[in-house]
Structures are given as structure tokens and as C-alpha cells.
């Protein structure tokens, strides 16, 4: 098979055929090709100012971690509870997903409590939808109107019976 000629029109074809040219071959390399190498044996510990949850599958805190969005409120309680289970336990992940959904509600309350009324349509990219998919936007608007209208009519039907 005369592949080099056949693929001559493809820029760079076969330039890494030789394994020596491949950065990840073999896939693990010791020591690493860091230039320069690290100048510590063990990294210093990052001071901890906020609550950071830790997997039960590791004995100690990592030297570095993200410190944003510490657990808060009901969702935070669920996250703490979830971290009582290992990553090997499905409950860990399902509880975290549930906490995420609760967190969304808490975020809305937080916004309103701080005097910020979220512009939900705008946050969902409504302007881009109107500009680039007006038919889709119209269909979604109709669907919302239909759902709200149906709910309204059902509510009106029930009220005379009371």
C-alpha cells in the first residue's frame, strides 16, 4: 500500500507514524518530562477557610483544592450526607444530583432575597433563540401558553364546585 503518496495531499499525513514522535507513547512515563521539574517533594497545604467535603476513598485532604461554593442550606446538608458514602456507592452520586436540584431552588431564593429578580428567559439564551431559531422560539412560546391556558381553564372549572 503506497499510503504516503496516496495521502500526500493531507498535510502532515503520517508524521507521527514513528512511535518516537508520539508524546503519549508509552502511555506512562517515569520520571515525567516536566521542564523544569517541580521544586518540592510534597506540596505545601493550602489553608482552609471554608468547608470542603472529602471523599471517603482518600485518607487526607489534598494539598490544593477549590474553595468556591461551600455547601450551604438544605442542599449542603444533603451533600455532607452524600459524602458519608464512598464514590463506589450509587447513593453518593444520586444524593449529590438531588442536592443539585435543591440548590437551584435555593439559588432562586438567594437571588430574590438579595433584591435580584433573575431574568430567567435571558439566562436561558432567549435572545439567541429569537435571533437564530425564531420558529422554535414561537413553538416553545405556544407550548407554554397552551400549558398555562389549560391549567387556567382547569382551575376555573374546579372553582364553581367549591
Amino acid at each position: 500500500m503506497d499510503t504516503p503518496t496516496k495521502f500526500a495531499h493531507i498535510k502532515g499525513w503520517g508524521s507521527d507514524l514513528d512511535h518516537a514522535n508520539r508524546p503519549a507513547y508509552p502511555k506512562e512515563r517515569t520520571p515525567p518530562r516536566l521542564d523544569p521539574p517541580v521544586h518540592w517533594k510534597e506540596p505545601e497545604m493550602q489553608p482552609r477557610h471554608v468547608e470542603v467535603l472529602r471523599s471517603t476513598e482518600r485518607p487526607a485532604m489534598t494539598p490544593v483544592f477549590g474553595s468556591g461554593q461551600p455547601p450551604r442550606g438544605l442542599s449542603g446538608g444533603m451533600r455532607r450526607f452524600a459524602f458519608g458514602y464512598s464514590e463506589n456507592d450509587l447513593r453518593h452520586w444520586l444524593l449529590l444530583l438531588l442536592a443539585d436540584r435543591i440548590d437551584v431552588g435555593e439559588g432562586l431564593v438567594e437571588d430574590l432575597a438579595s433584591g435580584h429578580v433573575p431574568r430567567i428567559y435571558s439566562e436561558m439564551g432567549g435572545r439567541a433563540e429569537l435571533q437564530h431559531n425564531p420558529v422554535g422560539a414561537a413553538k416553545k412560546a405556544l407550548a407554554v401558553v397552551a400549558v398555562l391556558g389549560t391549567a387556567y381553564l382547569l382551575a376555573r372549572r374546579r372553582s364553581p364546585r367549591r
Binding site: 503520517g14 507521527d16 520520571p31 505545601e44 493550602q46 476513598e57 490544593v64 440548590d103 439564551g125 439567541a128
Partner: protein, 384 residues
């Protein structure tokens, strides 16, 4: 500073947040010049990644200028322009010693499978990301790489994730001269995987997607054949027909947990969350590759479980390789490819939008509107 603020599934906005500060002696603060939205950000945006907390700033693909450094930083100075690999890694742990930077054990207390990733939920360490004006960069002596003067800023931006991930996907395929390679997904990573398959000596590259504009793009960028999976009854039969009924030598999954193509997988994985997203492409890859072939996976999946045809993989004697890309180890070689003119990564960028319009940018990308392949965000006040 202005930063993306995640408010819940399908809801993000740009809002004011406190500037990041040095929290560790080896931290740097980087002023962001460009950041991307990545296809895997969409998994966060759609609420599929556990422990994605409201208030988080996404963004793991960014380049910028160093504006502050911690006491122990030796290799960077204020004013340096850097590209920052999406992995947060220490360079010294057991895994970093083996160049598995995507699996660093010193940066993510909240999970052990993956190391830290900027702006990728608390499952990936809880680090705020680069879709912001400023970002905290831990282990600044190890991760950031100075951008050479002869490298375009937006080529450097593609080196933070999309190009190295596509390259690693192809490399993990163990491609040999003349191999037939099928790449599932014509997003940026799939596009780069297809291009990389040629660099590694493939004899045939086929890309599968269902959006005609993406298939057009990858045909032009990577000179490959394409398949619109919506026009195909059964992917495995189709690939086998194309390959003398043997199957492809290498199949690459560049899609991950939100794959279209199977109503049942979408219902159980994406809508009902009974599994960690839809595993459609895993099925296609395992069933379309030839016996003894290799399946390479860089599409993102959740940490729970997926219904995967592992029995077929066993019976076919497949090699399965997968990982988050260890970006740092690919950079020198990929820069050589750019310099040699083998690839112009910035050409996958189709949209450049102000950070203030991040809600629209996410919607545009997520809904595949306006021919969007790769959107880039530009923070306010940035002039380059």
C-alpha cells in the same frame, strides 16, 4: 470581576463576583484573554454532572496574562502570556510522576477517579473556571505554559483542551499505517481526532454525526469521509458494509454522555437519569470495531454507571482505552505540528462573543444554532 454564574440547568448569566486571590504559595492569578465553551461544559450546563453547585464559574479552556503570583512560584512572572491546560495538577504525585496529569491525586479532594479540572463541578475539585475576567491557577510552576511569540493566541487556546484531547483520542487508538478509523462526533474534539488520525498514519478516516453543517466542516477541515447517522438504519451494519464486513480497526468516542441516536438511551440516560447519560456511542463503537480492534474514549461520562455491551467487547477481544487528556505531555509535539503547518487549530473557532453574552453563547452552542462549532468568549476590556 465579571464571570459566568451557573444558576441551574440551562441557566447561566454573567455577573459580578469577587476577584480570585492567591490561596496557596504556588498559585498564580491569570487575567483571561480568551476562553472557550467546550462540549463537555454542556454536560454541566444540562445538569448532568453531580455536585455542580449554583454560583460556579465554568470554563476549563482559557489563555491569559499572569497578573499575580504566589511566594513559591519560580517559573512565571507577572506579564507572562500563558495557555493553561484544563487539568489542575501538581507534577509530583504518583500519577503525575507517570505523566497521568489528568489523574493528579493532589488537586481533587472530592473524588479520586479524576484530578482537578477548572470550572468542572466539585466532582472535579471545585475550582472556579476561566469564563471570567480572572482565574486562580494552582501549581503555577507546573500547569501553565508560556505562549511562544510565534504561536497565535487562538491556536494556543485550542491547545488547552480540544486539540490535545482529540490527539490523545487518536493516539490511544493505537493507529497503524493504513488503519480505518471511525470517529463518532463532529464537534471540535472529533474534528481534531480525525485530523490527528491522519497524522498518526490512518488510511481511512470516517466521521459520524447527524448535523450537516458539522459534517461539512469536518470534511473540509480533516479531509475525511462522513456518515449522517440519521440516514443509517444500523450503525454497526453500515460500518461493516464499508469495511469488507470486518469492522473498523479503531473507533473513537468523542461524544460522551449526551449522545443522540437512540430514543431509549436518551430516555433512560439523559431524561430519567437512570444511567450516567446515554451510552449510544459506546454501543456503536464496540459493535462497529473489528475483532481485536481498539475503542478509544474521550467523550465525558458521569461517574455512576452506564449500560455498556461489555460482553461484546470481551468476545471481540477489544482493547478499550480512555482517559481525560493529559494536556501537558502533548504540548511540545502539537506546537511542532502547528509550526509545520500540519494543522491550524484556530480555524475551528466559529463564534467570538463578549463574556457579557455568555447566556446566548451557551444556548447557541447547546442548541447547535447558527452553524456553531466552537464559541470563544472575550472578557470586557480585552483588546488583543
Amino acid at each position: 470581576m465579571l464571570a459566568l454564574n451557573y444558576r441551574g440547568p440551562y441557566r447561566v448569566r454573567a455577573s459580578q463576583k469577587p476577584d480570585p486571590v492567591i490561596e496557596h504559595p504556588n498559585d498564580a492569578i491569570v487575567q483571561v484573554l480568551r476562553s472557550c465553551i467546550c462540549g463537555s461544559d454542556l454536560h454541566l450546563y444540562h445538569g448532568l454532572v453531580p455536585d455542580t453547585r449554583v454560583g460556579t464559574t465554568f470554563g476549563h479552556e482559557f489563555v491569559g496574562t499572569v497578573v499575580d503570583i504566589g511566594d513559591s512560584v519560580q517559573n512565571l512572572q507577572r506579564g507572562d502570556r500563558v495557555l493553561v491546560p484544563f487539568n489542575v495538577f501538581c507534577g509530583s504525585c504518583y500519577f503525575c510522576q507517570r505523566e497521568l496529569y489528568g489523574n493528579c491525586h493532589n488537586t481533587n479532594p472530592q473524588a479520586t477517579a479524576v484530578g482537578g479540572i477548572y470550572g468542572y463541578s466539585h466532582t472535579a475539585g471545585g475550582f472556579d473556571g476561566g469564563q471570567a475576567q480572572f482565574v486562580r491557577v494552582p501549581f503555577a510552576d507546573v500547569g501553565p505554559t508560556k505562549i511562544p511569540d510565534d504561536l497565535l493566541l487562538e491556536d494556543a487556546l485550542m491547545l488547552t483542551d480540544a486539540f490535545p484531547t482529540g490527539y490523545q483520542a487518536a493516539e490511544m487508538g493505537g493507529i497503524r499505517e493504513g488503519d480505518t478509523v471511525v470517529v463518532f462526533g463532529a464537534g471540535p474534539v472529533g474534528i481534531f481526532a480525525a485530523k490527528s488520525a491522519w497524522l498518526l498514519g490512518a488510511g481511512r478516516v470516517i466521521v459520524v454525526d447527524h448535523l450537516e453543517y458539522r459534517l461539512d466542516f469536518v470534511r473540509n477541515f480533516a479531509q475525511c469521509e462522513t456518515i449522517d447517522f440519521k440516514s443509517v438504519d444500523d450503525m454497526a451494519i453500515h460500518i461493516k458494509k464499508m469495511t469488507d464486513w470486518l469492522g473498523a480497526d479503531v473507533c473513537i468516542d468523542c461524544v460522551g454522555c449526551e449522545a443522540a441516536g437512540s430514543a431509549l438511551q436518551r430516555l433512560t440516560g439523559v431524561k430519567l437519569k437512570m444511567q450516567a447519560g446515554s451510552a449510544t456511542v459506546l454501543h456503536w463503537a464496540i459493535n462497529s470495531v473489528r475483532k481485536g480492534g481498539t475503542v478509544s474514549i474521550v467523550g465525558v461520562y458521569g461517574p455512576t454507571f452506564n449500560a455498556v455491551p461489555i460482553g461484546n467487547a470481551v468476545n471481540k477481544g477489544l482493547t478499550l482505552r480512555m482517559n481525560q487528556a493529559s494536556v501537558k505531555r502533548h504540548l511540545p509535539r502539537l506546537m511542532e505540528h502547528i509550526r509545520a503547518g500540519h494543522i491550524e487549530p484556530h480555524k475551528v473557532i466559529t463564534h467570538r462573543m463578549p463574556l457579557e453574552e455568555v447566556s446566548d453563547a451557551y444556548h447557541l452552542f447547546s442548541s447547535k444554532l447558527d452553524g456553531c462549532i466552537k464559541p470563544v468568549l472575550i472578557p470586557p476590556g480585552v483588546t488583543v
